[in-house]
């Protein structure tokens, strides 16, 4: 396998990938189907912006956002059946149970931990310790500018946290579990070791003050862009969207079995952050995972960072293995 040169790197030397938008397959079928899967993503994004911008205060609240989020994900699950990107990524009962287990952990135990250790709590403690106020520079800005800043601040932090996870071994141990997923489905973003899920949720947004409606707008925009990272649906995503936002194509490359491909496309929503720092690769991959696509059980996903870390520690600091015999050449 020769791979494709992208900048100074060879992508796809270890596992097949498709590089360049011109090589990514298009949606096939009648005119309605092609129209639907071309404009669905922008239509949802602009509808969400309009809804949350103009919704009366009695409707514009967190419970409405949660309800819309659940209904939207259920609809996208149906779309995975209608127009899958790859048959090999089809959602099975077992995959669905595994994914929902992690979604459930996020809504329960991780949420509970966040109440005590989450970044919002830590920042609130920091502000109160030093008797600081939140930075209120942004509350005077237009709502959409505030919403963009909320998302950008979070995404910029997440970009570096994610890139750090791919470059610093202790962080990689926690993140590697997420890279053992062998297919993309709508809830796969939730799959990972709880330590990583906690770390990736950290942000400095709590330092800044925003209008509540701006926060709701940010949540809706973030959902309308970020939800497609892990999805098994083929879209004819418009070029401007692919230039600005992370897509399932970008993220499938990031999850590829090819090592170099995984070291790209770190941003959660705004792929232009990767473009700025030279880590963006446009394309897609079907074969995902680690160790040739070995599927990890939930038990191993829970323990892997610790058992693997322990093994590494023993190798590095433990006694030399005297039983190991080096064969003579």
């Amino acid at each position: 396998m020769t791979g494709v040169r992208v900048g100074k790197r060879i992508i796809g030397g270890q596992s097949p990938v498709t590089i360049g938008w011109e090589n990514v397959p298009k949606v096939e079928g009648g005119p309605f189907k092609r129209l639907f899967f071309t404009w669905f993503q922008p239509a949802v994004l602009f509808s969400m912006i309009l809804f949350w911008y103009y919704a009366p205060n009695s409707i514009a609240k967190a419970s409405t956002a949660i309800g819309i989020g659940i209904a939207f994900r259920a609809f996208l699950l149906a779309l995975e059946w209608v127009n899958p990107r790859y048959k090999s990524w089809e959602l099975t009962w077992k995959e669905c149970v595994t994914d929902l287990f992690y979604v459930g952990l996020g809504y329960t135990i991780l949420n509970l931990v966040d109440n005590f250790l989450g970044s919002e709590v830590l920042i609130a403690n920091l502000l109160s310790t030093f008797d600081w106020d939140k930075f209120a520079w942004f509350t005077g800005l237009p709502l959409l500018a505030q919403a963009f800043l909320i998302l950008f601040i979070f995404d910029f932090g997440q970009y570096w946290m994610h890139r750090g996870m791919h470059n610093w071994y202790p962080l990689w141990l926690t993140h590697s579990v997420h890279h053992y997923i062998t297919q993309l489905n709508i809830n796969k973003g939730a799959v990972g070791n709880p330590v990583e899920l906690f770390l990736i949720g950290l942000g400095i947004g709590g330092l800044f003050d925003f209008l509540p409606r701006a926060a709701l707008l940010a949540g809706a925009i973030g959902m309308s862009i970020g939800v497609y990272q892990h999805i098994n649906v083929r879209f004819n995503t418009p070029a401007w969207w692919r230039f600005l936002f992370n897509t399932t194509e970008h993220h499938s490359l990031h999850h590829s079995q090819d090592f170099e491909a995984t070291r790209s496309n770190y941003a959660s929503n705004f792929i232009f952050i990767d473009r700025i720092f030279g880590t963006c690769v446009d394309g897609e991959a079907e074969l995902l995972g680690m160790e040739g696509g070995r599927r990890m059980s939930i038990r191993e996903q829970m323990t892997y960072p610790f058992t693997e870390g322990w093994k590494t520690m023993k190798e590095r600091f433990g006694k030399a293995d005297t039983t190991h015999v080096v064969p003579a050449e």
Partner: protein, 226 residues
């Protein structure tokens, strides 16, 4: 025929038919994680031919199997997601002949089914834990944390003139008491945990019925040569 993998001791094959030995009581509960069934084989199909037709099921990554004349024992470790038998961990397939003809009887266990069956209990426990932690944390700490923000909550920050011109609704003065009560309640609410407990109970019922039917249909198709 020897399988591609390590042999499994034949003595470990469980009873596939109800019997009166010490294990029969397990039949009362092992339906939770065990899928059993029997399929009548076409008249002219020998055991050798039947297992040859089922052979592709056991050549998936992570699968070990051992085949004798009339039975096949398998085990799977970390099967790939699209393995048609990915939910099963161990099992036995046996061909038995009686006056009615040849029958394939299968017995397969699934940790995934057991996990899904127990998941509702786990999430109910999570719900109880959340309630317990909420009681330990107490309402006092939340109120103390909020005191500092109270003054701010009373302030209504105006919209930017662009938003006013575009017709976005003005922010309301928050109803402090009602909101605080609600927030305090939601912070340690077990509702999500109970919703997921219900969801996993539903998923178990779906999986137990669906996976049973799917594997039966797949075996039938393969045996019919389809």
């Amino acid at each position: 025929m020897s399988g591609q993998a390590q042999a499994m001791p034949g003595g470990e094959a469980p009873a596939m038919v109800a019997d009166s030995d010490g294990r029969s009581w397990m039949r009362l509960i092992d339906w939770i994680w065990t899928v059993r069934g029997d399929i009548l084989l076409p008249e002219d199909l020998s055991a050798e031919q039947a297992f040859a037709r089922l052979d592709p099921f056991f050549h998936e990554p992570g699968t070990r199997f051992d085949r004798s004349d009339d039975s096949l024992t398998f085990s799977k470790k970390d099967p790939v997601a699209q393995d048609k038998m990915s939910i099963y961990d161990t099992g036995v397939l046996r061909i038995e002949r009686d006056a009615g003809g040849a029958v394939l009887r299968y017995w397969m266990t699934s940790k995934s089914l057991l996990f899904c069956f127990l998941a509702p209990l786990l999430f109910v426990a999570f719900g109880q834990l959340i309630v317990g932690v909420g009681l330990l944390a107490g309402p006092g700490t939340e109120q103390a944390d909020k005191k500092k923000d109270e003054k701010k909550k009373d302030e209504v920050r105006p919209l930017h003139w662009i938003d006013k011109a575009l017709g976005a609704p003005e922010p309301e003065k928050p109803k402090k008491d009602a909101k605080d009560k609600k927030e305090g309640k939601n912070q340690f609410s077990p509702t999500s945990a109970y919703v997921f407990a219900g969801l996993f109970a539903l998923l178990y019922i779906i999986g137990r019925i669906l996976e049973d039917k799917l594997i039966r249909r797949r075996f039938q198709r393969s045996l019919a040569g389809g």
